[in-house]
């Protein structure tokens, strides 16, 4: 996708959620596997937040832990970015414009196929 990096995945992620809840969907199980991974969320006013994925509810509101806020210094991109730590934050679904997770390329492909199955 954006930057095709060929290096081996160093991310050895063991699924933190056991599949004990048999009735929960495949998608929910997958999202559970993303918990505590670095997540990059873009919001309406142009800022980005990176933090560890902590929680999501039915409405799609996301809580990030130890988040860092990034914002550009100019409206016209590209421009240098400023950043600062903001800690524990809640990003309401209504202002979220993008959402990415840090993962190995193989995993990215499997995530893509998962999403394509539905659509």
């Amino acid at each position: 996708m954006e930057t095709a990096q060929q290096a081996e995945s160093s991310l050895n992620h063991a699924g933190s959620s056991d599949a004990s809840e048999s009735n929960s969907s495949n998608y929910v199980a997958h999202v559970k596997k993303l918990l505590y991974r670095p997540m990059l969320v873009g919001i309406k006013d142009g800022r980005f937040f990176i933090g560890s994925f902590y929680c999501m509810d039915k409405q799609g509101n996301i809580i990030l832990q130890d988040a860092v806020e990034y914002r550009s210094t100019r409206r016209s991109s590209p421009s240098p970015m400023e950043h600062r730590g903001v800690g524990l934050i809640l990003i309401p679904f209504s202002c979220r414009t993008s959402c990415h997770v840090d993962c190995a390329i193989e995993e990215q492909l499997s995530l893509l196929s998962l999403q394509e199955k539905k659509s």
Partner: protein
């Protein structure tokens, strides 16, 4: 592709561009888009279900800052992404307009708005969101081509810097730590130290322009080389005057701050002169309002000037409080309501009046008088800046006013003869601790009253401990027989005097602690009885210790003058109770009367009882007076002593023994003793009024109370800050 899709795609690309260079993913990993996966998962979630890990804590999650909530998110991008972007978009042009009349008009608006910002900052706003919401202030180099704007920005920065350093040096801002936060703000720009000479030059130019436009036409020719301030001749005088008073106010205010910081109060005289000038300029600033409003083309009269931050009523140019809100802290931004221009002027008038009181202070070397001065000063409810300056005046380099060594001050306060202050006893390790306690006491008295009360309660224990330590140390010292006997005598005396003084001060602190409870409105009417009971107990002790201290010093002075006729005279004097003690007696009668009246109302009329589902009366007693109890003030006094004193109070006995009458009598007698002290006379008058009103109320309740159950009694603080007055009404 539909238009919407196109926009979506465009946005996606923009995001990619800005992410990849600045926000790298982990090593060997990529940012994978999971938006649709999240959407699908959300569809499958039950309503109350969350996706979360094992250590998830809903309570902790509640403290998350909500992004895009204006009350929580300090980073919301409003108009501009950065100051530089704002400047590029012409948000803060230099000059403000190429039309010179408009330029002057807009600069005056900036000056006025900055005054509103400054007042708001003094009253608790953050510097970043108030004064430094000005883009001009944030970029000092940009204004250099505009002498008027540049000099004004400089003096503002220098003034803020002086205020920040005063407040942080004094540390009176424990509660308001927002005040001194200046991260990332250009508070000290190069050349700001020379702000006064620049300001002076600008002032000179404008006063010449003012003279030129006022000169009769015959003289005009001579003055023709002077370029006018702006283009409209009819407005020249008004604008010159409006600018001059604003510039001069800044100059004098800066002088006030620097003069007041001079060591040993040496700048107070000069500071007072500048204060008077400041107040005069503020009056002129107020007067200029009418002229400026009349020139406001947009006309804001219908909207009212009351909420405006400028005299003209125009919105000032070059301010954006959102640009800086991030630089201060990631914590939620505080909603800031700026003072209006009128309120800002009022604020500065009040501040200057408070500072004027301070500058008129005589630097009294007697510790007790210093305490009284600070307590009286606090009655004006000075703001943080004034309180910081008081403290910096009182305590400098560990000395009183930076002048008197604390041991000498303590000796004088303990009514010891002059030679005591040179005694070796001060080398005892406990004495410096006592000196430190005395300094701390002064510092605490300069803080805001709620903080002060908590602190006073806590330092009581230190004063109790130092008493024991001093006693031990003195005993040890005294056991040393190698000293010559004369010195030994003096030593003994110093020990005795200082010990009694320490006790007296401890009870003074306790009484201040109790009275502040009333001033801060911490007691409910059902708790007044116990509060007055405690005041009664403490004041009795305070009066006793003060009396002993004074008798001890009389004894000393009498022994010194060994002439017989003086001796006889003094004998007579000794039997008289000193006025200071009588004044305490006066308070004691009033609080005793109030306590007994409240107790009788509780016992006989079943009102003002401590009922309620949450706390027992004992519980409330502990809540209010735990710190006094911990310090054993006085010894062997507890909730049960309070119950014991008050359970038997009845109106039938109160009417015979009327404390209020005694209080009134003593207050009248004391008038002569304090004839030279107008503050004390005023206080006596207040006590008399309280006693008189309460005496009448008491009689009324005694006579009618049992006959008329519709009688309602309430307590109000209409005559005195902590001595209540009973009001009897028929419901």
């Amino acid at each position: 592709m539909s238009m919407a899709e196109k926009i979506e795609a465009e946005r996606g690309r923009a995001v990619e561009v800005s992410i990849s260079p600045s926000i790298p993913s982990g090593e060997g990993t990529v940012w994978a888009d999971v938006s649709s996966l999240l959407r699908l998962a959300c569809n499958d979630l039950r309503d109350d279900e969350l996706i979360n890990g094992e250590n998830f804590n809903l309570f902790a999650a509640m403290s998350a800052l909500e992004i895009m909530d204006p009350k929580m998110d300090s980073g919301i991008v409003s108009t501009y992404y950065s100051i530089d972007e704002a400047i590029e978009n012409g948000a803060a042009p230099v000059p403000l307009s190429f039309d010179r009349t408009l330029d002057v008009q807009r600069i005056i608006d900036i000056m006025d708005h900055l005054l509103s910002c400054e007042a708001t900052w003094h009253k608790g706003g953050s510097l970043a969101q108030t004064v430094f919401s000005s883009i001009y202030l944030m970029r000092p180099e940009r204004t250099s081509s505009h002498a008027l704007l540049h000099s004004y920005c400089r003096v503002i920065r220098a003034t803020c810097n002086a205020v920040v350093s005063a407040v942080s040096d004094a540390r009176t801002n424990e509660e308001e730590d927002l005040f001194t936060m200046t991260y990332g703000l250009p508070l000290k720009s190069e050349g700001d130290d020379k702000c006064l000479s620049m300001l002076h030059a600008v002032e000179e130019t404008i006063s010449r322009q003012l003279r030129a436009c006022k000169a009769p036409t015959s003289k005009k020719r001579v003055l023709e080389d002077i370029e006018p301030l702006q283009n409209n001749f009819d407005l020249e005088e008004g604008f010159c005057k409006a600018l001059l008073c604003r510039l001069r106010f800044r100059k004098h205010f800066y002088h006030v701050l620097t003069c007041m910081r001079r060591p040993q109060g040496k700048g107070l005289e000069l500071a007072k002169k500048h204060i008077i000038s400041c107040l005069a300029e503020l009056d002129s600033i107020l007067q200029s309002g009418e002229f400026l409003r009349s020139n406001n083309a947009h006309g804001t009269l219908e909207e009212g000037i009351e909420d405006k931050t400028t005299a003209s009523g125009c919105q000032p140019i070059g301010f954006d409080s959102t640009l800086n809100s991030r630089s201060a802290t990631p914590t939620p931004p505080r909603a800031i309501k700026l003072f209006s221009w009128k309120k800002a002027v009022d604020y500065f008038q009040k501040l200057l009046h408070d500072l004027e009181i301070l500058c008129s202070y005589s630097l009294d070397p007697v510790f007790e008088n210093v305490l009284r001065f600070v307590v009286d000063f606090q009655k004006f409810q000075p703001d943080m800046v004034a309180r910081a300056l008081v403290q910096l005046l009182l305590v400098q380099d560990g000395r009183l006013y930076g002048r008197d060594p604390m041991f000498a001050v303590i000796c004088k306060a303990a009514l010891l003869p002059d030679e005591a202050k040179n005694n070796d006893i001060q080398k005892s390790i406990t004495v410096p601790q006592l000196e430190q306690l005395a300094i701390n006491l002064l510092r605490v008295l300069c803080t805001n009253t709620s903080w002060q009360r908590r602190k006073l309660g806590k330092i009581l224990q230190d004063w109790r401990i130092i008493y024991v330590q001093l006693e031990l140390a003195f005993r040890k010292e005294h056991g040393d027989i190698s000293r010559p006997s004369v010195d030994e005598n003096l030593c003994m005396k110093i020990c005795k005097h200082i010990l009694i003084w320490v006790e007296e001060k401890t009870y003074w602190i306790a009484s201040r602690f109790l009275t502040l409870g009333f001033e801060l409105d911490l007691y409910s009417p059902s708790e007044y009885c116990m509060a007055y009971w405690y005041m009664y107990v403490i004041l009795m002790k305070l009066a006793e210790k003060t009396h002993i201290k004074m008798m001890m010093s009389n004894e000393t002075s009498r022994r010194k003058t060994k002439k017989k006729r003086d001796f006889v005279k003094d004998m007579g004097k000794d039997h008289q109770i000193p006025p200071a003690v009588l004044l305490f007696q006066c308070y004691i009668y009033v609080v005793e009367g109030l306590m007994l009246m409240l107790a009788a109302l509780r016992n006989e009329h079943k009102v003002f009882l401590c009922l309620g589902p949450f706390n027992s009366e004992h519980g409330r007693f502990i809540q209010h007076f735990e710190l006094l109890q911990k310090a054993c003030l006085p010894d062997h006094v507890s909730y049960f002593s309070f119950r014991e004193t008050t359970t038997h109070a009845r109106f039938s006995t109160l009417s015979v023994y009327n404390c209020f009458k005694d209080a009134q009598r003593i207050a009248k007698e004391l008038r002569d003793s304090f004839a030279n002290d107008p503050d004390r006379i005023a206080e006596l008058r207040r006590i008399e009024q309280v006693a008189e009103h309460n005496g009448i109320a008491l009689n009324l309740i005694c006579r009618l109370g049992t006959l008329d159950p519709s009688l309602k009694v309430s307590f109000e603080f209409t005559h005195h800050p902590y001595l209540a007055v009973a009001v009897v009404k028929r419901s």
